[in-house]
Amino acid sequence: MDRQTYVLEARGIDKSFASVKVLSDVELHLKPGEVHALMGENGAGKSTLMKIIMGIYKSDAGEILFEGRPASIRKTSDALKLGIAMIHQELSPIPEMTVAENIFIGRETESRFAPFVNRKELNRRTQALLEAYNMAGYIHPGTPMKRLSIAQTQMIEIIKAVSYQSKVIIMDEPTSSLSEKETTELFRIIGLLKAQQVGVIYITHRMEEVFTLADRVSVFRDGKFIACKEVRDTGREELISMMVGRELSSGYPQNTAPKGDVVLEVRNFSRKGVFENVSFQVRAGEILGLAGLVGAGRSEVVRALVGYDRLEQGQIFLEGKEITVSHPKDALRHNIIMAPEDRKELGLVLCRSIRENITLQNMAKLAGKLFMKLGREKQACGEIASLVTIKMNSINDQAGRLSGGNQQKVVLAKSMLSGPKVLIMDEPTRGIDVGAKAEIYKIMVELAQKGMAIIMISSEMPELLGMSDRVVVMSAGRITGELTDMTEHAQQDILKLALGGI
């Protein structure tokens, strides 16, 4: 096929972080004037490839061709100069500045050394852009960005991309925070972009958008390119099976613990706009998986459960008795412990020692009313640290200097020492290497065998299927289903439920 038919091509792209391979031999071919959907599970490598195209990451191998010629993109401004722009999921306008100022930021003047900004000229050019995209009716060049809705802010980002004469615009889940009406408006603008021969890479999890909007669709899985199809030649079932595709990977330890009584029950958890009417139970010795796409509200539910976030509505029953939890201290007293997803943000005090981090949650055991029991602290922390096999010189090492896997083990150690009845693990193996993963799985099963009830949030399908006795699926803040049978159909079922029960 003639190369010139593509405006942007990525070929044979490899990328590893530390020793973890996140992209291997990935390709993508974008034609001018097409909307090219990019699909795949969380962690399939979509965003990483986009970041390589935008010059945010550097690929280990492979090449990127722009209009048929090899392009060297080392930083974002290189990509912009070529005519590649990206609309990120998290928009970052400067709220106090006007629409015109935001669009022309960094190029307010013709020459880099011209000292003064011609505001009138900027406003005039902005007005022309707004008119070209039929937005002049409700957005003015002089309006401060903070007055615009999320959807309008996104439109401005798109216009900004257009104003760079972009030939490729990448959109990362642009509709995730838009209403239906706003989505229609976005699609109209994408239609105008197509008419101008702009190629659009459209990352999405929403199946229906692919079929209404896209011309072609590429599917990634586990950092590999699976297939590129004409949308009219494919269907939902085929796309889902391409996204899931893999065999149930073995190598997960079997949880043979007998399932006991219900330890924890969550009833009708609601917080406006975040999650609604969420109810589930977990039994002693059971590992309950919470599945869903990023942003489905899973972390928010468990954070409310342990009293870190406010809960608007709902009840918690521990061993049949209702309890109130308004601060993590209450959860701790009731032996409900959470090992959070983000070690840096919520898990550890990185500038302090392993010992202090473990102790922080376990003062009841390791301190009297006022003072630390230093001897007991040293002994208990040493024991639990070697039990979870943290690789360290001493328990006085700074937690921030450990590897990700070892940090996660410190989080586990501090959670385990308090002897929880219910242990909540949010993405317990995110960003850690295979060896450490296996060790963490082993510990989880051991804990279940001691009669602990474990709730595991995971976005990795094999992990969910391999470790869970039962899976509850959430989508857009609601529970959309439950699976008790981890057979080969389970993956497709979970994905369907996570995508919103289509």
Partner: protein
């Protein structure tokens, strides 16, 4: 391993070395410096800033700052002063004065921990409120103090050692116990290091932050009593700018301004260095105007050295 140990040594004893060099240098240059009289004088001068800096260490470790301690000293000074002038027992006068600055510390703590005001803003506001309160209360005039047992706190000696030095010792030892082996001390470090993670670990982080400001307020009150007793006067203008020396001592001592990292022993060396510096410059007949300039540069140099040594170990 070996290199790590050496760096640790430099890190831990770098400040001590600065002190040793200063003392050695001054002993050679000035005949007066290394006399018992001058040494006692230095420590006596250090005591007030030492007590303040010890309090400041707590709030800075939580990631905050307290600009109001100078004003709080004035509040304590005028209340204690007026009660003494009115003939109340020394004990009652001191208690009431210190209680007032503790109350201000509590006020700061509530604003910062529960109303989420930035510490800089909250304590800046308290600075002018406190100063204004002291001026209104005293009608702008100082209270001249004559009660002998009160003045003894600042001027007297016990077992041959000046009383302010005893007080400083007690304050530093108590603070060291709290920071190193109490639960609260652990919480102070943890909150400064990562407030969110600390909360998730079941710690009432707001309470911890609030108490840090109460401690700073308390120690501002104690320092105010020492000052009033030394100058025989409870003044509404007392303590102006004292917070700066206290913050400087903590900074020189290597405590991270964003919280979580630091030791009281560092602060102690910090205020000793500042005290030695003032004394040395005075002995060398440097005008007090120039002293301020020199002090500023010494702070920059000390903190730069400290950052470098820490940078290497990372």
């Amino acid at each position: 391993m070996e290199r790590v140990k050496v760096v640790n040594l430099v890190q831990r004893f770098g400040l001590l070395m600065i002190i040793v060099i200063m003392v050695a240098g001054m002993s050679i240059v000035s005949p007066v410096f290394f006399t018992a009289g001058n040494i006692v004088n230095v420590i006596r001068q250090i005591s007030i800033n030492g007590i303040l800096a010890t309090g400041m260490t707590f709030v800075i470790l939580t990631g905050g700052i307290d600009l109001s301690i100078g004003s709080l000293m004035a509040v304590t000074g005028v209340i204690t002063g007026s009660l003494l002038v009115d003939g109340y027992p020394t004990f009652v006068a001191i208690l009431a004065g210190v209680a007032a600055s503790v109350a201000f510390g509590f006020f700061n703590g509530v604003l910062i921990a529960y109303c989420n005001l930035p510490p800089f803003i909250a304590t800046l506001a308290s600075t002018t409120i406190g100063r204004g309160f002291a001026l209104v209360y005293s009608d702008g005039k100082p209270y001249t103090l004559t009660t002998p047992e009160f003045l003894a706190i600042g001027k007297g000696t016990s077992l041959g050692v000046p009383n302010p030095i005893w007080l400083l010792l007690v304050v530093v030892i108590l603070a060291s116990i709290i920071l190193n082996i109490s639960k609260f001390g652990r919480y102070v470090y943890a909150v400064g290091g990562n407030e969110n993670a600390t909360k998730l670990s079941g710690v009432k982080t707001r309470m911890v932050k609030m108490f840090a400001y109460v401690i700073t307020g308390l120690l501002a009150g104690v320092a105010a009593v020492v000052l009033a007793a030394r100058i025989s006067s409870g003044q509404p203008t007392a303590g102006d700018g004292y917070e700066l020396d206290a913050i400087a001592a903590v900074a020189i001592g290597g405590t991270s301004m964003s919280g979580g990292i630091g030791r009281l022993s560092g602060t102690v060396m910090g205020f000793v260095i500042i005290g030695l510096l003032s004394n040395s410059l005075t002995l060398l007949n440097v005008s007090s105007f120039y002293q301020q300039i020199v002090k500023g540069f010494i702070i920059i140099i000390a903190v730069l050295i400290d950052q470098r040594t820490k940078g290497k170990s990372n």
